[in-house]
Symmetry: C2
Subunit: 405 residues, 2 copies
């Protein structure tokens, strides 16, 4: 009898959790497992704001996939999935190969959501992957270096679009990094302007207002200027144009514009004709795509409703990893001929938003935390993600142990 | 009786040598000494190719002026001289101040000579000072980072205009640095192109042909492509256009163009109406400007003829420092009422052109040297310049001691 073939697309939090759990639960005769990923490394999406600000190096935020998978059970294919042919059960890869599957796990990350704002795709940077993160850091440093040559003040202005989770964490790192850059490039700190523009009526919507207040006050002390309730109308080669009052607009000249607001699903979802809302799939309780008994969708491409507030959970590493665990055990059941798949319930252990490596805010197990304690917990959360996928060796190698400040 | 006032413009090799010798030779009651410089630091012009390639940090190629001058004898003014009023014996400074003098030493560095080639001033970088050097390094790194995002091959092409001293030394550093950058940015080394374009019929004109052959072969092994006898016709936003055959041209697409050919005198010479040839002053034997008994000109702005070949000596640190020594002793004589000023004779101790930090070529005390030995001598020359101006403390702090490879 032919072994069933499980294909996992994406080696992010969800995909790697699926594969590492599968390789524990299944023997090498039970199933063929194939992992497809664009790079031969996994990167910590939740640490990219640090690479973007240069507070961590690109190498610190990634690790080799080969270091966590069991090669005797998992085949790794370095390629990019471009389309899923649902009828023929095949994945089309960028380099031209086709990959058939019995079960498919779509664990691909999302794409930046620019909400149709003109020029953002062209003139704004995005904290999307290791390459774009590194580009942001190099871009800012190049602007600082060039300021010393041509003295144009806008070279020292950084606009961050969005005061959500990523935006605030990035601002926290910038707050710590800018004084170091000023020293390195002989620049007066007062010349640097960091402006955060957020269309919503508050920073960190959904967070406890007291914590939001703590975070914005802290970032303001680090010279961040907030423009809350202000919509970006356009990004241009010179900076951005924001709404002002009813009909007016205002230009903010800035050499660096980083768009840190909103994630939509991966284009492959739409391309493959899987039922979706803005590229994300409202999955069944067992995490399968509606109407497809052999396709699971997890992570940024999936949409799970928080029944308490009747809104989707935001896409996070935490939820992706929990989904990966469940998909692995559901796949193990299917391979073993069982049909009683388990339903997914999100167990929210809390959320911590870092504000540089020395401060943070968050809610952990229902309790509000700030300051050093929150920062410590954030690092524990980061280390836990490493531990869940790669055990102690990976945690020792890539973990954050600068815990005492 | 009023103390005579000596104003020295520029804290390069010539200016600092003048001031540090003067402060030894004169007591604080003998003369008032004022040093004017744009920055509060001196930078090693001959090391800038290393900062430009990122093999040395900007901080490694500079030191604080305050660390070598005797504040009880020398006033330091951080400003830029814009004009000398010869009639009224005043220097006009950028910030608006005026500085009167009894004796003036113009020891300002040169400016890049672009020979009227279109677009070079706008689209090419120049290894001129710490700021432009740092900008070049940051620019290349930003291009490498961006290549990983947009995959445009020209981002990995670097054109160096000129195979003279600076050009060849910069190519040597690039040869060593590019493999490191490729590792840092996950780039295949084969994708990077370095093209050196030189209009003259040979690299390093004036150097021994055997040494030139050694240098070009070594750089070619480090993947530098030489286009000797090829003139740059134009620099554009996309790269450069070079002459090809009699009438034809060829475009070389390159995100980075570094112009490393030719130095002309400082614009202040022309601006002040001092007799000059392309901004450089053909000085009298005692290093005074023709017809001016109170103005000395040394370094890049001066022109001293090598009688043997009836051509000017190239502007180097070695000649500037020897000029500084002579000017200091001539000034001491003038202050003491003597009129028998000494004449300048250049004592050429040799020239070494580095090819990365591990190889070099040169002629030292009349002998040809290559390889590790030449590289060692180059570092000794670099350390000697530090020692001559700042003694042992400065040499220990900023010297090059990675002598054994």
């Amino acid at each position: 009898m032919r072994k069933p073939k499980i294909v996992v697309l994406g080696a992010g939090y969800g995909g790697l959790m699926t594969v590492t759990r599968l390789q524990k639960q299944l023997g090498s005769t039970d199933a063929e497992i194939v992992l497809v990923n664009k790079n031969d490394y996994h990167y910590e999406t939740t640490w990219l704001h640090e690479a973007s600000a240069g507070t961590l190096s690109p190498d610190q935020v990634r690790y080799d996939i080969s270091s966590v998978i069991d090669r005797s059970k998992v085949d790794f294919v370095q390629d990019t999935a471009v389309k899923v042919e649902l009828e023929t059960k095949k994945v089309i890869l960028e380099k031209g190969d086709e990959l058939s599957y019995d079960y498919l796990v779509v664990a691909l990350g999302g794409a930046p959501e620019t909400f149709g704002i003109k020029g953002l795709d062209k003139y704004a940077f995005s904290i999307t992957n290791v390459n774009t993160a590194r580009q942001i850091r190099e871009h800012i440093e190049y602007q600082f270096a060039t300021y010393k040559v041509d003295k144009k003040p806008e070279r020292l202005t950084i606009v961050v679009g969005g005061a959500g989770f990523t935006g605030m964490e990035f601002l926290g790192e910038l707050g710590n990094q800018i004084p170091r850059w000023c020293k390195e490039y002989d620049i007066d700190k007062e010349m640097v302007k960091v402006v955060c523009v957020e269309a919503a009526p508050t920073a960190l919507p959904g967070f406890d207002p007291e914590l939001v207040q703590y975070a914005t006050a802290l970032l303001e002390r680090k010279n961040v200027e907030f423009r809350i309730g202000t919509a970006i109308k356009e990004a241009t080669p010179e900076g951005i144009v924001v709404a002002k009052g009813e009909d007016d607009t205002e230009e903010i000249k800035a050499a660096t514009v980083v768009w840190a607001a909103g994630v939509r699903g991966n284009p492959i979802i739409v391309e493959s004709g899987i039922e979706n809302m803005r590229g994300r799939v409202k999955v069944e309780p067992d995490l399968r795509a509606p109407g497809l008994s052999d396709v699971f969708v997890i992570g940024d491409c999936s949409l799970v409703i928080n029944e308490e507030i009747n809104r989707p959970y935001p896409p996070t590493a935490q939820i992706a990893m929990q989904q990966g665990e469940l998909v692995a055990s559901n796949l193990a059941k299917l391979v073993q001929g069982k049909t009683n798949l388990d339903s997914f319930t999100f167990d929210n252990k809390g959320t911590v938003c870092s504000l540089g490596d020395d401060d943070a805010i968050g809610v952990v197990f229902g309790k509000k935390v700030t300051g050093t304690k929150a920062s410590f917990m954030k690092k524990m959360i980061d280390n836990r993600a490493l531990y869940m996928i790669g055990g102690i060796p990976l945690t020792m190698k890539k973990g954050k142990f600068n815990l005492l400040k």
